[in-house]
Amino acid sequence: MTHGIDIQSISLTREGAEVFRDFSLQLRERRIGIVGRNGAGKSSLIRLISGLVAPQSGMVKVEGVDVLKDRAGALETVGLLFQNPDHQIIFPAVVEEIAFGLEQQGLSRAEARARARSVLAHHGRADWEDRLSHALSQGQRQLLCLMAVLAMEPRWILFDEPFASLDMPTGLAIEARIKALKQNVVIVTHDPSRVEGFDRILWLEAGKIAADGSPDEVLPRYRAAMEDLARSMAC
């Protein structure tokens, strides 16, 4: 009885600017990629899906959970990797940051810390245990955010530009880990090659769906359009 993500005629205005008007969308696929230009509304969309932004009208349900109202339910259902790690990190210490979400899911403080440590070790970063998050490099902070989200194992995980600050090997390793996840995944990215083998690609343009289909249908058209644009901008 899986319902997936169900967005029902949403309208969203942020600081006076309209981002979505009467926008509807159903997502059921296991691997979904979202592409589109800067300011198209990609981050706004996945913030809506994770219940962080309240639309002026309309409704978002994920696996039947009203993500805006039922926060405890949303916790098990959707997880979000923020585009800017500085906006996601809450705690000064690396271990606390990972443990917090686990505690929120009902683990005791000690259990959560133990799990956080094993997550660090699993990603080959056992030595980060005592480090402070603000003294990590930008890419290291993004990895910390990724670990914190993956540790919580929600049924849907939304990644906003997960590879933007990662170095090549870390990026490739995370890509492989994401591919292997049993959960449903949505990735927002400016790099089409990262979502090549996915089940479905959405191309968002100024708050509307410009194209929606398999990677083979959408990505070549997207690439061509972007290159055209680049040529017209370069002059």
Binding site: M1, L52, A72, E76, I90, L107, H134, M152
Partner: protein
């Protein structure tokens, strides 16, 4: 971190935080009630004895923490003596030093996580109002997080300024700093929401699985 702390654990660290804070509260009220010099002297001796029992280094740290209070007290005591109110001056001076000394003793020997855990336990009754008892503890934790963050923000912003200006920012950063703090509050609110927010906790991890 900003809070008072000792480099090493002491015997007093082993006492439960609730006991230490409970006894401290009783002592405070007691010291205020007894106007006699002997009462205050007993309080002072207790504070001094407890502090010394932590060792020499710890006593030095405690004395440092006492410094800002000491000289205010000195001024008032001198004023009383000037007015020839000797007993009143002495009672006042000894009382303040004893109280602050005792309070510092408790703070020095109770690590922050234990203080926060205590807050959490004391806050259990707010469950009845549909609020998570973790809320006050979380609030305390967040304030303590924001304090260094405020300085870091200031430092980051002066960097951004210096990268494009040879002059000192002076007061020009006050407004941008205020905005960046408010934005921080927004981002932090979203980050908290993204991880379940401040709704009461689920009791078991698999409660919502289907």
């Amino acid at each position: 971190m900003l809070s008072l702390a000792l480099p090493k654990r002491s015997w007093a660290h082993k006492l439960p935080a609730s006991v230490k804070f409970g006894v401290l509260a009783v002592l405070m009220v007691g010291l205020m009630q007894f106007g006699t010099l002997t009462g205050q002297l007993i309080g002072l001796a207790l504070a001094a004895g407890l502090t010394l029992s932590l060792g020499l280094t710890a006593s030095k740290i405690a004395l440092q923490a006492l410094r800002p209070v000491l000289w205010i007290v000195a001024v008032i005591v001198i004023w009383h003596f000037w007015q020839r109110e000797f007993s009143q001056g002495a009672v006042f001076g000894i009382r303040v030093v004893a109280m602050v000394g005792l309070a510092n003793f408790v703070t020095l020997t109770t690590p922050l996580p234990e203080i926060i855990a205590l807050v959490e336990r004391l806050a259990q009754p707010i469950r009845h109002f549909g609020l998570s008892p973790r809320l006050p503890a979380l609030a305390v934790g967040l304030v303590l997080r924001f304090i260094p963050e405020l300085r870091a923000r200031y430092a980051a912003m002066t960097d951004a300024w210096r990268a494009r200006s040879p002059r000192r920012p002076r007061t020009k950063l006050v407004a941008p700093l205020a905005f960046s703090l408010l934005d921080d509050a927004d981002h932090l609110a979203e980050a908290l929401r993204a991880r379940g927010g401040i709704a009461p906790l689920p009791t078991r991890r698999d409660q919502h699985g289907t």
